[in-house]
Amino acid sequence: MSCVLGISAGYHDAAAALIIDGQLIAAMQEERFTRIKNDSSIPSRAVFACLAQAGLSAAAIDRVVFYENPFAKLERVLLSLVRSFPQSWKQFPTAISSQIGSKIWILDQISSTLNIPRNRIFTTTHHRSHAASTFFPSPFDEAAILTVDGIGEEVSTGMWLGKNGSINCIKSIQYPHSLGLLYAALTAYLGFEVNEGEYKVMGLAAYGTPHFKEEFASLISLSPDGSFELSLPYFAFHTKTDIGFSAKMEKLLGPRRDPGKHWDFENSPHDRKYADIAATLQWYTEEVLLGLARNIRQLTGSVNLCLAGGVALNCVANARLLKESGFSRIFVQPAAGDAGGALGAAILASIDLDGKYPSPLNTCALGENISNDAALKLVQNLGINHTKPDDIFSSTADLIADNKVVAFASGRFEWGPRALGQRSILAAPQDKATRERLNKVIKKREPFRPFAPAVLSHRAGEWFEGQDCDMSPFMTSVANVRPENAKDLGACTHIDGTARVQTVTELSSPGLFNVLHALDKKTGIPMVVNTSLNGNGEPIVGSALDAISFFVSHSVDAMVVGDILLKRNTL
């Protein structure tokens, strides 16, 4: 038996992935345990939860693989400091504290935290981890691979070919030229939190029109071969740590938006302008990705594309890639960001160790299970009104059909940033008012944020066009809503007529599948609004305790925790 653990940590979204004899057993993000959003600390709780899933202790691990090379990162940081001197002198204390204070010792820290001998701890490289994380669990034997994020060691964009059981880099773009950093800088400019607000920018973009193409042409230049260069005087991420854009960008686009300010598209011309900037950023992101994809299509001749890296979570861009890049099929690993690096690192080491490859990924329910016993004990102690229905899924469907909002925690929690029916809030998709209620009262987030529908896979074509792809089971793409059936999707059609649809099968999400099946029998529409089970700024719920805490503090009508149904006293 071979047992390999992949780890990502140190920047954001730390995670662990466990592979035994080539098969993926568990993959979890540390934030689900520590309740710190995007927790970057060494994922010790995630590691031990992965091991518990397999019934093993740390002593059974043959190899631990860290998802990037800390020494290559140090080299890039030092070179960047030298190249940007004297503007970079203020960064020296930060560089010292991050690199010498902790980063270069991370392998030692992993060794001591997990009590694993240091010589069992290996490294790979950041973009190789990303590439492995998406190619090997994909349904393809051969594919072009595109990895796009902020920055790895020195690479920001990688073009790869996956073939004959191996991955090879064909071309790369180096820091500081980075699509991820362009998106991050504009995310900060628009008043959102970096590494968290990028989804908001994508949602905001649909409310604007790309009127700022001329200005953006000063920020980034595109080449016919798909490569790109940032105009560095407009950016500050290479010389400062507190801000990603320079005063020159504010001269070009106008003053930045204040964080936390209420959005008002109807009465504020400024907010409409910021939406236009978001739309232009989205347009440029798509153009860059299309250029890269067309180039790698030409270079590899492959008809399949695998995507990874934080930028691959841009589902609007992914949909456009599928339509216009020339690839027949596209796969995006659901934890495409840095968390996914843990999976890639583990796969690489597993192949290295015993030549075994993982099966295609058909579910992202790879986390810890809900404990029915713990849930029952908690609700009894708290005196919460609860029942144990014979068919919990049918009871859930009854509530949804009755227009109730149901928090749903069932099975193993999800791998990646999307709630796909294991830790979700579910509601009927028809009524637009449901969206208002979810946004304002329950999730307490910006009014322009869309909600996603989850639908039985074999029925999805009745409501959506272009949903039948390798991305829809993991909600990493969008599809057009069929106008003739748009009335069924009032709560989850975005302003641009699209929806980030999740297609559900019994294998991908058994609990949600059963709910949708029961809902189909009752209403003829096997579809729900599916949004993540978390409060504003919190990680998605992990345990029964997290779930019940959510129920106590948020105004959902009911909650399913394992096999227990909790209802408000008013129901």
């Binding site: 920047y11 693989v65 290559a72 030092l78 960064q91 204390p93 010792w105 991955i167 900060a188």
Partner: protein
């Protein structure tokens, strides 16, 4: 495909890290960075002893 070769790595953590660090910089012919690295190392040790290691910044790419 291969992850790095660990056969010469000791099981004593900090020695293993220093060995890997020197090996990396020698292998990549980046020895001209060693003086800067030494300054950072010395400053880092001072910071560790004075408990001065804490910062929060969203754009830490150039320092990471």
């Amino acid at each position: 495909m291969k992850t790095q070769d660990n056969k010469n790595i000791t099981s004593i953590p900090w020695i293993a890290t220093l060995y890997s660090l020197i090996k990396h910089f020698t292998h990549r012919q980046r020895l001209f960075l060693i003086p800067l690295l030494l300054i950072l190392l010395l400053s880092g040790i001072i910071l560790i002893f004075t408990s001065g290691l804490s910062y929060v910044a969203p754009f830490v790419y150039s320092a990471f």
